[in-house]
């Protein structure tokens, strides 16, 4: 029942020239229209996007390398700065120490000098004072002696001594006047 009707309807495998004609025409028109209106724009857009993606990746790689280089530079710079700072610190402390020592030495020396000069002054003053005391002692002794002498002037022996002294005095000068006053 099935097979005979298939054979009868040879339409199934009949190739209609009209349909071939229309298919070719339609296909060519569709191909031309789509190439102009669809495939061209889509493909060019896709190509542009691919190009952009490739260039983006490329530039990202380049920028990354650059950033890494910069980072390395930065790191070495920081290390350098840190080293320098440490060096400076070390030098500073050294200098401070040196300065302190110098200052100490200087002040010690000054103190020493001050002490020395004070001692010298003291010695001088002491010597002066001693000299003064000594001269005052002579004066006192002289006065005491004078008093003693004046009270025993009648003693002939002492009178003679005084006369002898007076005779021994120079004729002019302070000692003569002193002697004169004393005698008066």
């Amino acid at each position: 029942m099935f097979l005979p009707s298939v054979l009868a309807a040879s339409n199934l495998v009949k190739v209609q020239p009209g349909l071939i004609f229309w298919t070719l025409i339609t296909f060519v028109i569709v191909a031309i229209v789509l190439k102009m209106k669809a495939w061209g724009p889509i493909l060019s857009l896709v190509e542009e996007r691919e190009k952009q993606i490739a260039s983006s990746i490329e530039s990202a790689k380049r920028e990354r390398a650059e950033a890494e280089k910069l980072l390395a530079d930065q790191k070495t710079a920081i290390a350098e700065a840190r080293r320098e700072a440490a060096e400076m610190m070390r030098r500073n402390t050294q200098e401070m120490e040196k300065f302190r020592e110098e200052l100490m030495a200087k002040s010690r020396k000054e103190a020493e000098e001050l002490k020395l000069s004070a001692r010298r002054e003291i010695d001088e003053q002491k010597a002066k004072a001693i000299a003064e005391v000594r001269s005052m002692a002579v004066d006192l002794a002289m006065e005491v002696a004078g008093k003693l002498i004046s009270e025993r002037m009648d003693d002939s022996k002492q009178r003679a001594l005084a006369e002898q002294f007076v005779q021994g005095l120079p004729l002019n000068g302070t000692s003569a006047t002193g002697a004169v006053r004393r005698t008066a």
Binding site: Q16, I20, K37
Partner: protein, 335 residues
């Protein structure tokens, strides 16, 4: 879900039973898959609505070539060999045009976007671009090569989408499958054939192309070799033609036949089995619509690639023939 299926099936069965007066199932199936000049819409539970016919276009190639003549099956138009070119607009012609219009409309809508934005937006634009990129990268460039591939991308894209839309349109109710018609697939294969030969001539030059037809053997073998090579040229488009035609036709016949089982066995309960089966086949056909479009494009790309490789192959071949008759002609066919 199961209840819905049973309901659906019984509804189908009832419809089938009601319309079961015509029991010529093979005739019915054939009526649906073959081309015809008349258009009709079938309505469940009633007679099909005839939309009439487009006036036939008959171009007589000789005087009185298109005079109708009576045969056993009724009136018949003489064939091309008898002097009549029948350019009538048939059901499949209309389906093909509909597919072409749908294809162009779809692509215009989804490819007409802001050209400054390089990334597509939306499901449609993304889908189109995905398919375009697939055809370009997986079919054109893989089979033809990086240098020559892009040149043939527009052709392959057109073939892919045109076949795909005709296949899919055939799965829409009341529509017909234009790719289930030998004339349509033969024309498409003819396009690929022309492109393939053009690619071969372009790659090898006309001399190289003709030389390739001799198979590169000694002249006294040419009478054997040339027919073999020429036959080889035509087997490729023939394979393309038959593969697409048979696949699309067979799927629809199976689909119709599963539903026709209800009438052949004559009981509504058959619908419980045949409707789910038909549904499964329908889903399979959806898949096949894509697969066949893919296969057609892939084979076209492969043939073009072989043709292009033939040109490059012959450049190397010149040195070999000086050394000796050692010949690896088959290599070009396994690229």
């Amino acid at each position: 879900m199961r209840k819905a299926m049973v309901l659906f099936a019984s509804l189908f069965a009832a419809t089938a039973w009601a319309a079961g007066s015509e029991d010529d199932v093979p005739g019915y199936i054939l009526h649906h898959v073959v081309d015809s000049p008349s258009f009709e819409i079938e309505v469940p539970l009633s007679a099909p609505i005839h939309l009439g016919e487009i006036p036939p276009i008959h171009i007589p190639l000789k005087a009185d070539g298109c005079a109708l003549r009576m045969t056993d099956h009724g009136q018949e138009v003489p064939g091309l060999t008898e002097g009549c070119l029948d350019l009538s607009i048939t059901k499949h012609t209309v389906m093909m045009w509909l597919a072409a219009l749908l294809l162009m409309a779809t692509l215009f809508i989804w490819s007409n976007r802001d050209k400054t934005k390089l990334v597509p937006r939306g499901a449609g634009a993304n889908l189109i671009e995905m398919l375009v990129l697939f055809v370009r990268d997986e079919l054109a460039i893989k089979n033809i090569g990086k240098e020559e591939g892009p040149r043939y991308v527009p052709y392959l894209l057109t073939a892919f989408f045109f076949v795909l839309f005709m296949n899919l349109l055939g799965l829409v109710p009341w529509m017909a499958t234009a790719t289930g018609n030998l004339a349509v697939t033969a024309s498409l294969a003819l396009c690929t054939f022309v492109i393939t030969q053009a690619a071969g001539i372009r790659a090898a030059g006309l001399g190289g192309y003709l030389k390739h037809l001799t198979g590169g053997v000694a002249p006294w073998l040419w009478p054997i070799m040339i027919p073999v090579e020429v036959l080889g040229l035509f087997t490729k488009p023939f394979a393309l033609t038959m593969r697409l035609f048979a696949n699309m036709l067979a799927g629809h016949i199976v689909l119709f036949f599963l539903l026709g089982l209800i009438f052949i066995l004559g009981h509504p309960a058959v619908a419980l089995v045949s409707v789910p089966f038909a549904f499964a086949i329908y889903l399979l056909e959806l898949f096949v619509a894509f697969v066949q479009a893919y296969v057609f494009t892939m084979l076209s790309a492969l043939f073009i690639g072989m043709s292009v490789a033939m040109g490059h192959h012959h450049d190397d071949h010149g040195h070999e023939s000086e050394v000796g008759p050692s010949h690896d002609h088959g290599k070009a066919h396994h690229v």
